[in-house]
């Protein structure tokens, strides 16, 4: 962290953002007490996935894209298979579709539990890390233990359906390579029943955390499905009237380069509010737009928190995230209860030339994929727009709003407050290209 000596200017720098996935830094520059510049810099080198997908067979794509993230590989598999299946028009039978939803539930549980307990809750409670939290008292140790066990319950689902916990290998175009046996699936139920109770406790606990007053008029963007809480499919909607099919995404959103970051940012192509095209994706956006699609148990848990939803305070994202853990556990139990091994692991399809789009709901928000294939099913072009790219502009806007309150704080306190704003979004910087380096410049 650095502080310029010139009295008129001050620069707060967070050299490495902590408790986020990947490597990023933050600079806030003041001139004469006024915020001059806020930059969220993602300095992880670009990984060129879109370029090296070109020339690969479509069938290889789900296993390659799963490597983009160790926390949300299922999201990358789901958006890629759906986009590629849309080219020949593959329609999955309901039982294979349910199996994919179940796999996604596993990822939501493990990713959300990790973020709530290990990365985000310490912010609200004044701990440096989850380790410090666990060391503080037996009560907090029990809370961390609950978080780790919840995460493991999600990992077990991914393991059984996906073939392994991290970077699963069982998803293929048309379905799966191998169908889980009924006894493997039955073996998950007991732990998920525990997880349902633990998730309810998580919701209650998250609702007691102190939320700074930080409301704003955001544009929340999420999928919306006709009759279920969105994961794998739906139309893309917002609280400002957006309502489009996934293939219309490029007509409404644009990715662009900013000089200070290795990750592309995304904005609305035609901004319709005061926020200059920034928009908000992830659990809070999903819950705000889709609470009516949640199972009764989850809606009741949300009502019991006393926190009003739809909610425009990004700090309440942790509550939305906890509600989605409960939702994913409840959905997983429902799907496991109905489970009959499908007669065939996958449906046949014929490769053909075309363009396919898909949006699915990664734990951190919408993940857009677009592929162009030739007649042999070889990838000619690929576009992947991860949720963190989409939230980046919004994070910078939140930081600009926060910055005037940082002027009187020490650099350490200012850095922590700025990091907290960023952690509301659970950014996966590795995906976009858990470190924040904050630089505050005062001039």
């Amino acid at each position: 962290m650095t502080q310029a000596t010139d009295k008129a200017t001050r620069t707060i720098t967070v050299q490495a953002l902590a408790r986020v996935e990947g490597e990023g830094a933050l600079t806030i520059r003041f001139r004469d007490g006024q915020v001059e510049r806020v930059e969220l810099r993602i300095y992880e080198p670009p990984r060129f996935y879109e370029a090296f997908l070109r020339g690969r067979a479509a069938a290889e794509v789900p296993d390659i894209t799963a490597r983009i993230c160790g926390i949300c590989p299922v999201a990358y598999q789901m958006s890629s298979v759906h986009a590629l299946e849309n080219i020949p028009g593959v329609v999955l039978p309901p039982e294979l579709r349910a199996l994919r939803r179940l796999l996604y539930c596993g990822e939501w549980i493990e990713s959300h539990a990790l973020h709530i307990y290990m990365l985000h809750a310490p912010d609200f409670l004044g701990f440096e890390s989850a380790i410090a939290m666990a060391q503080a008292s037996p009560t907090y140790a029990d809370i961390v233990r609950r978080g780790l066990r919840l995460k493991k319950a999600g990992n077990s689902l991914v393991n059984v359906i996906g073939g392994r916990e991290v970077h699963p290998v069982n998803v293929r175009l048309g379905g799966f390579y191998r169908i889980p046996r009924a006894n493997e699936m039955a073996g998950l139920v007991e732990e998920l029943k525990w997880a349902r109770e633990a998730a309810l406790q998580t919701v209650r606990w998250c609702a007691t955390l102190p939320f700074p007053d930080f409301e704003d008029d955001y544009e929340f963007v999420a999928l919306r499905h006709s009759d279920e809480y969105p994961m794998n499919e739906g139309r893309l909607v917002s609280n400002r009237g957006l309502d489009i099919a996934p293939e219309e995404y490029p007509d409404h959103f644009i990715e662009y380069q900013v000089p200070h970051s290795n990750a592309l940012q995304s904005r609305r192509r035609f901004p319709c509010g005061a926020d200059d095209g920034a928009y908000f994706v992830g659990p809070l956006a999903r819950w705000n737009l889709n609470a009516d699609r949640a199972p009764a148990l989850v809606r009741e848990a949300a009502a019991a928190t006393g926190i009003p939803f739809p909610n425009r305070n990004p700090y309440t994202s942790i509550v939305a995230r906890s509600l989605e853990v409960l939702l994913a556990v409840e959905e997983a139990l429902r799907l496991l209860h109905q489970y009959q091994p499908p007669p065939r692991p996958a449906v046949d399809y014929l490769a053909r030339a075309g363009v396919g789009h898909a949006i699915t709901e990664a734990p951190r928000g919408i993940l857009y994929h677009r592929y162009e294939t030739d007649a042999a099913g070889v990838i000619r072009n690929a576009t992947i727009i991860p949720p963190t790219s989409q939230n980046q502009r919004q994070m910078e806007r939140d930081l600009k709003r926060l910055a005037p309150t940082l002027g009187e704080l020490s650099n350490e306190e200012a850095a922590l407050k700025a990091e907290r704003v960023i952690r509301n979004y659970d950014p996966c910087i590795s995906c976009a290209t858990h470190f924040l380096k904050l630089k505050v410049e005062r001039r």
Binding site: G70, I71, I131, A134, R145, L148, K152, H434
Partner: protein
């Protein structure tokens, strides 16, 4: 020393580049004839999975890559807690470092009473195609030392501030 049972030997790291050394040690141990029933051997890719292997009992031998400025392939041995273990594996954002995992295990009451860490000096942590021969040359010796540890025939009782064994 006769280490309390169960003994758990856990390798940490990715299977790529020099980080693969722990995988090789684990593979060697698993292929040995006559692995005692109270000696369990695991491979984990990071600190969180390490927690899954701990239950507050027995002895843990942890194997990890190490950057200490010694010759690649040099074996180091530390008894936890030890400040040098903090240097094991740069902090990853997707996972806990082994030292963080051990501290969290202590806070959660699942750390075993005895923990010994073996670190092998690596040449490079870049995820290249294969491990460097200089590092892999240390594998047979480390396997032998682990066998001596569980047999209670190791002559090293305390941590070795100096590298132990041959410098490869």
């Amino acid at each position: 020393m006769n280490w309390p049972r169960p003994i758990r030997i856990v390798g940490v790291g990715s299977p790529l580049g020099d980080d693969a050394l722990a995988w090789e040690v684990v593979r060697n141990l698993r292929q040995r004839q006559g692995l005692p029933s109270d000696v369990e051997v695991y491979m984990v890719e990071g600190g969180q999975r390490l927690l899954d292997r701990l239950d507050g009992r027995g002895t843990l031998f942890l194997i990890d890559a190490l950057v200490a400025g010694t010759r690649p392939g040099t074996i180091h041995r530390f008894v936890w807690p030890h400040p040098s273990i903090e240097a094991l594996r740069p902090g990853s954002t997707h996972d806990l470092r082994p030292a963080e995992a051990l501290r969290l295990a202590e806070a959660l009451g699942i750390a075993p009473p005895h923990i010994v860490v073996f670190g092998i000096e690596v040449e490079s942590l870049a995820p290249q195609a294969g491990p460097n021969p200089s590092v892999m040359a240390a594998v047979p010796e480390l396997v032998q030392r682990l066998v001596q540890e569980w047999q209670g025939s190791s002559t090293i009782e305390e941590d070795s501030p100096e590298p132990i064994g041959r410098e490869h």
